[in-house]
Symmetry: C2
Subunit: 404 residues, 2 copies
């Protein structure tokens, strides 16, 4: 028998380790592979032969791993570019050295592109080497899945903070605006999810070109009507010409993506400058939303785990490569008000590099939030909590494998 | 029989409503007063005769109130200044109009000063009117209590976010600094509490004048030793001349306190400017720490509730005025590794306007964090969670009385 490798890439989430735990546990239930190696720091550490043997994690370790946020193997933003044969050869060299036939890669759309490219390249250059994708992203911007592991838990945290900070904001009489910023570069799923609790007055999404005057008119109207205006914005909010609201703070993260931050501060400042209210409060959730495990969603944690199981189980078929596993919502159950997910696998090319935007038909005009259909979409994803093992007042976590 | 009044002042906390619930419940258990009125928006709405009758809240409402963050009556930053006889007369006029003899005021040290001033004034000018304080503050800066309701829950949230964002930070190899900012204008209790999880490399407190060069030397050393540097700072970090690190952003909040924010951004920038690492991540917890009810501490929620009960029960003594209730730690129990609190009352003048700093003997030199004694102090406060009633995936809350 041979061995397998699993690695994590891109931004951490609250449940990416649950998928990792699923792969490890599946191999304990049915040892398709002699050993399950973890590749440290994504493709970066893997190319450097930094592996950690996960084969015999105990049941207790696996339970803690499921509730440990961030990426327990470490992660990277290094992209294995198409045509980079040197890296491809080096990866196969490392795999050969450890008798590894199969690599599971947990990541977002960039990583699914890597899975596609590697599988394609291996057909001619490294027969017998297989590459399988397991999706994750707090941005929820992957096609063709209903939603993506990591997003529901991030949405749950964002909803809780929205509700709590709205209560905090409402406790005061003084005229001020509140602006909450959440992650979301190109897709506004996370910002839109904040509307679930009914606390959001105005919503700014990357899917709608920002119109300063139209927006300020809505802000003015909210203050006239209620004396309050609670705003949620995606970090990627931008003007029609593509300029980010946070422009001036952009930097490069090595993936040719702008590094964002500051949309909320920009919105607050334009409201103050327009003389609508003299002051405002800015809350940037940033990493606190994607990494907190106070608020894992039970649906999210379970599906992330099951996608890990599913990827491993499907790999029993030697022809299974260049594929990604995902979930579809059971529409029949949904019609009856129930939530159920079906699991499927599809070619990685269908996931790679596409961005699934928050649907335009779910966006209310004039920054007024989201349609009832969107609420129906979000609600089952954030409902319900797993049992959490606590340690001294905070959720217990495993020592990351890259820090041992 | 006569009635009583309860109001909330200053910044909301995760458990200030638990004290409110305690007063209401105590009066159901022993109706010392015919009616329990809530004064909306602290002293501000009370002077405007905005009262809400809380007498007959149901048990279910009281349970939800205990887990609702923020100030369910609304709050204010309006300070009843000593010598402001017009406001004092107006307050007594409102109290008389509703046959109110006793006012419970839940707030920080400014509010305890108000309790002291009102009680003193009433002795000569409004005999029979009584003013009783119930402390709260996430800053934990009140004397002479062991700790103050609101702080343990804020510390619990801060510890969780510290641990989760440290895991997130550690997942990457790229050279960058992480700086977490938490509330704390003059006292560093909340920032210091973040050290409980062992994740903090360097700690910046308002209790220690900031020395730029000495600090940068420590940052450099951490990066040389471990390639990482995770920093926590209080918003009120300042240089020896009193200038805040966040200077330039200061504004006035009406209490002659500087409005802070931006210490973390300033620290990140000075590290980047010094050429130690090319980039950094800033996470400002701000209101997410004080208002989240995902992480109520069981000790905090219970003590806040019991202080509400205690204040009401002690008010059976007609001479009980100008007093504040508080908790002391049971040192005998602590010596055996157990936690127990004793309740007491003391003159409001002992609480008013003093600031209890994080003890200098608990501060390690060179920004290295806190002493073991401080860990022993913090740990029992954040340990343990109450049962939380959920609603659609987030903790259920009561509709604030000021929004009905």
């Amino acid at each position: 028998m041979a061995n397998c490798l699993v690695a994590q890439s891109g931004g951490p989430t609250a449940v990416i380790n649950s998928s990792l735990a699923g792969v490890v546990r599946a191999n304990q239930l049915n040892p398709l592979y002699d050993r399950v190696f973890g590749g440290l720091y994504g493709i970066e550490g893997t190319l450097d032969d930094q592996l950690y043997d996960l084969t015999n994690l105990t049941g207790h370790d696996i339970e803690l791993l499921q509730q440990t946020p961030s990426s327990a193997l470490g992660t990277c933003r290094y992209k294995l570019k198409r045509g980079n044969d040197a890296d491809y050869h080096r990866l196969v060299e490392v795999m050969d050295a450890h008798d590894i036939t199969t690599m599971f890669y947990i990541g977002g759309n960039d990583s699914m592109d890597t899975v596609d490219a590697l599988a394609e390249w291996a057909r001619d250059n490294a027969p017998g080497k297989r590459f399988i994708g397991i999706p994750k992203t707090v941005d929820n911007d992957l096609v063709p899945v209903d939603h993506c592991p990591g997003f529901p838990s991030a949405a749950k945290v964002a909803c809780e903070i929205t509700h709590a900070t709205r209560l905090d904001y409402d406790a005061y009489t003084r005229p001020e605006v509140f602006v909450l910023e959440v992650m979301g570069r190109d897709a506004g799923w996370l910002a839109a999810s904040c509307c679930v609790t009914g606390d959001v007055d105005l919503l700014v999404l990357p899917e709608v070109d920002f119109d300063r005057e139209a927006f300020l008119a809505e802000v003015r109207k909210k203050f006239e009507e209620t004396g309050k205006c609670y705003i949620v914005t995606s970090e990627g909010a931008h003007y029609a010409d593509g300029t980010y609201l946070s422009a001036g703070k952009a930097a490069d993260d090595g993936f040719a993506h702008a590094v964002l931050g500051g949309a909320a501060a920009a919105i607050k400042q334009m409201i103050v400058d327009a003389g609508i209210v003299p002051r405002g409060i800015v809350q940037d959730l940033s990493r606190a939303a994607r990494s907190s495990n106070f608020a894992q969603s039970i649906v999210d944690r379970t599906e992330a785990w099951e996608l890990g199981l599913s990827a491993h189980m499907r790999s029993a078929d030697p022809a299974f490569t260049g594929q990604v596993v995902g979930v579809r919502r059971d529409e029949e159950a949904a019609a009856e008000g129930l939530y159920n997910a079906w699991f499927f696998a599809a070619p990685a090319s269908e996931f790679a590099n596409f961005v699934r935007h928050f649907p335009s038909e779910w966006i209310l005009p004039a920054y007024q939030g989201i349609a009832p259909e969107a609420l129906d979409y979000f609600r089952p994803l954030i409902k319900g909590e797993p049992r959490v093992v606590m340690d001294g007042g905070i959720p217990a976590t495993i020592v990351p494998f890259n820090r041992r």
